[in-house]
């Protein structure tokens, strides 16, 4: 309800005229620079729980040249900008702080060129992840990163977050599938970073830019590596009477020298919710299930599937089912990929965490996560990329209960601490955004963060591109300046 009330309040407010808007409107067109309260409100949020966004004018460019124009106008006015794809981020990375211009890239959504012979496609940033794979499917190829939001998230957003997904276990995350980027820098200059050749001239600015969460500029064209579809796929569903046994199986598979395409774990609570939603035949009496997919050539797939069965039984699997058809496989994956939607059956709100731990620590860390949830009186559910050690504890709550959000944040902080103590990191695929900035100095030293800030300065010396994100404020003073640039009272 708070969202609806906030929206009503926002619609009721009128923004004071801002010369920044008139310059933007001249450069684009009136219908592609929106500054009404509704548009500003809608673009002040992403898929995270954070509510402090405050969008300035919302721009919808259709070309690199228009993005350049916006950047130059923002520079002239000393204003900041925030790029945005589909707004599916969970760490608040696209939430505009300090009323910047929001640059929505959704109208730059063309697949520009596909070169099957050389396994390369050029796309605009607003292309939806799954649309690209669907387009390539005719020729027997796909784009490997497959985040759970792939039906709506954009390739530009994937670049900004270095997105992953279940099948990144074998194929690698977005960084491994991006060859070159055309980027518009915050001063309006265009740079082409990376290249179609294997060892491009100069520094790997491509690698530095990917995952920078919009703090280094905006990508306007992306050259991606496309992946040939494997001729054989084996999908196994293993059931366990304990989460520990499922986690140990994951570790044992890797230790046996097998790197499946995907290894995903779901606990009993989430499995029950998913099963009532998709009816895929998930065993609702199992304490945990492990979904494993192996891909490749026919014989290798059969060998690895057999070895994984053996390992599963050695680790105490109570049942192992092999998908017998594409339909059965798709149904199992539908369950996994729509798991978060199924949670609405249990609680009105959830907070999805994202940390990574060494795979061999999974079982111990999950038990500690359970203890944290118990301590705060929260329900925890686990559905995660086990093969990468990428945990996704879901803390379920009802935001209407007083003090509940504070409890959820406190539990989240403890989960991060546990992950770091196990030798892990703060985020495996959601990014830092505004969610985990304050925890960065629990992983990195002041000197480390200072060097990350230097990297950012080289792309954006004025810190006007998505200010106030990723690095703790003490390490990015110019961000604070950028956030103060909005004239008083204009975009309240």
């Amino acid at each position: 309800m708070s969202f609806i009330n906030n929206l009503k309040n926002a619609i009721g407010r009128k923004a004071t005229p801002d010369p920044f808007v008139s310059d933007l409107t001249s450069a684009l067109s009136k219908d592609r620079v929106r500054f009404d309260a509704t548009q500003r409100f809608l673009h002040s949020h992403d898929a995270s729980v954070f509510d402090e966004g405050n969008a300035g004018p919302v721009c919808f460019p259709t070309s690199t040249q228009e993005v350049q124009e916006i950047m130059k106008i923002a520079k002239t006015h000393g204003r900041s900008i925030v790029a945005r794809g589909a707004g599916t981020g969970l760490a608040g990375g696209a939430i505009p702080l300090g009323a910047p211009a929001v640059i929505a890239m959704t109208k730059m959504n063309k697949i520009l060129e596909v070169d099957i012979d050389n396994r390369i496609a050029w796309v605009e940033p607003g292309v939806i992840n799954l649309d690209l794979s669907s387009h390539l499917g005719v020729d027997g190829y796909h784009f490997a990163p497959d985040p759970s939001s792939q039906q709506v998230c954009t390739i530009g957003g994937n670049v900004a977050n270095n997105s992953g997904g279940p099948h990144c276990l074998a194929y690698g995350v977005t960084d491994a599938h991006v060859l070159a980027l055309e980027v518009v820098l915050p001063d309006g200059e265009v740079a082409v970073i990376g290249g179609l050749d294997p060892e491009p001239l100069g520094l790997d600015l491509r690698g530095a830019f990917i995952g920078s969460e919009g703090t280094m500029g905006i990508t306007t064209k992306i050259a991606v590596r496309i992946t040939k579809n494997p001729p054989a796929v084996g999908t196994l569903l293993l059931s366990f009477s304990s989460m520990r046994a499922a986690a140990q199986t994951v570790s044992a598979v890797i230790a046996a020298g097998i790197v499946p395409a995907a290894m995903e774990v779901m606990d009993q609570r989430i499995t029950k919710a998913v099963e009532s939603f998709v009816g895929a035949g998930y065993p609702t009496d199992a304490a945990a299930v492990l979904l494993v997919e192996v891909e490749g050539l026919t014989d290798g797939v059969a060998i690895e599937a057999s070895r994984i069965r053996d390992i599963g039984f050695e680790q105490g699997a109570t049942g192992i089912r092999v998908a017998e058809s594409d339909h059965e496989r798709e149904l199992l994956w539908k369950g996994r990929k729509t798991a978060f939607g199924a949670i609405a059956q249990i609680a009105p709100d959830y907070y999805l965490h994202d940390t990574v731990v060494p795979r061999s620590s999974l079982a111990d860390v999950l038990e500690k996560v359970d203890e944290v949830a118990e301590k705060y009186g929260l329900i925890v559910m686990n559905v995660f990329h086990a093969g990468d050690g990428n945990l996704h504890p879901l803390l379920l709550f009802d935001v209407r209960e007083e003090g509940m959000l504070e409890k959820v944040h406190a539990a989240g902080a403890e989960i991060m601490k546990i992950s770091l103590e196990a030798g892990g990191v703060l985020s495996g695929e959601h990014g830092i955004g505004i969610e985990k900035q304050a925890y960065m100095n629990q992983l990195f030293s002041d000197d480390d963060l200072d060097h990350q800030n230097r990297l950012r300065y080289a792309f954006d010396p004025d810190c006007r591109s998505n200010p106030g994100k990723v690095l703790p404020s003490g390490h990015s003073c110019a961000d604070i300046q950028a956030l103060k640039k909005v004239p008083e009272g204009i975009w309240g």
Binding site: G202, I254, D299, S427, F444, H451
Partner: protein, 310 residues
């Protein structure tokens, strides 16, 4: 205090940082296998070797942490005890050298580039401080990808002291075959060959995996031509080119001489050197600022020109 502050307490790293110090031109040397690439080191620079040795190997995690001065050969020998390897090229040099240069292995097509193998780096900054970037796990988006920037930077932004690398299982079967089948056709037939090398006439294909899969791939190829088993890759000419893979079939128009091209990748080993490539102006601007940020006094590997920042 962050977890990575522990690195400063590591006596090997702190001693190395002390040797590097905060002033005076300084360079790091491995085995000097690629010492003369990208300009010559300015005379008068102090030259130091990086520390060496395996710090920690977790075969069950497929991760190894190694000091930069360790040779790639020693590293791979160590990993082979658990039937694992890295994708770093072994040309007689060190791990730090392979990362600093960033040249990919002959098997780039199947095993991926060097940059994908690097999970975490520890380097000594131009101020003589130990810096940690990346993370010690296989998946990580915590903060900016500083470790990616360091790959191929020739030690001009920081001196690499230690690397945490992804390892991979060594397949049970590996074989080279030679054929005259069109290399484009080969690439379209095979799923994931680890290398397809073409000298303009013959093609060498490296297949690896389970024996039955390797045999099936050979059977698939034999429908289009004869295969000859080979012991190794062809001899590679000395000069290295980097081209878009689509350009590999127009090499006749270039002054390249005898060549071996990596199909689907774009690396070409050629008789003649690649002409100087034209840098992108926008990229040059960022590189110049990058050097100013990381090494404003140009004391790290002076004389190496990676980013055209002069």
């Amino acid at each position: 205090m962050g977890v990575s502050d522990n690195a400063k307490a590591d006596p090997v790293l702190s001693n190395f940082a002390h040797e590097v110090g905060p002033s005076q031109p300084i360079a790091i040397e491995g085995k000097r296998t690629r010492w003369n690439l990208n300009g010559s080191l300015e005379s008068g620079a102090k030259v130091l070797p990086a520390p060496s040795g395996i710090v920690e190997y977790k075969p069950e995690e497929m991760i190894v942490t190694v000091r930069a001065g360790t040779t790639v050969q020693d590293l791979n020998s160590h990993l082979a005890s658990h039937q694992q390897r890295t994708s770093l090229p072994d040309r007689g040099g060190t791990v730090g050298g392979a990362i600093a240069v960033g040249h990919n292995d002959l098997h780039h097509l199947g095993r991926g580039p060097v940059r994908d193998a690097v999970l975490q780096l520890r380097y000594i900054s131009s101020e003589g401080r130990v810096i940690t970037c990346g993370g010690p796990v296989v998946k990580n988006v915590t903060g900016f990808n500083l470790h990616k920037l360091m790959v191929g930077s020739y030690g001009t932004l920081g001196l690499i002291a230690e690397a945490t690398l992804r390892t991979n299982p060594i397949p049970s079967e590996q074989t080279w075959v030679k054929t005259t089948i069109d290399p484009k056709l080969i690439l379209s037939i095979l799923l994931r060959p680890s290398a397809v090398l073409w000298d303009g006439t013959a093609t060498w294909v490296h297949l690896e995996g389970y024996l039955a899969d390797v045999d099936a791939q050979k059977t698939a190829l034999r429908k289009y031509g004869t295969l000859h088993e080979e012991d190794s890759a062809p001899e590679l000419p000395a000069c290295r080119w980097s081209l878009p893979p689509a350009d590999l079939f127009n090499l006749d128009s270039l002054n390249i001489g005898r060549f071996v091209a990596s199909i689907g990748v774009g690396t070409v080993w050629a008789e003649h050197p690649q002409p100087i490539r034209t840098p992108d102006k926008g990229k040059q601007l960022i590189e110049k600022r990058m050097k100013q940020q990381f090494d404003p006094e140009n004391r790290l590997n002076p004389g190496r020109l990676v980013g055209n920042w002069t």
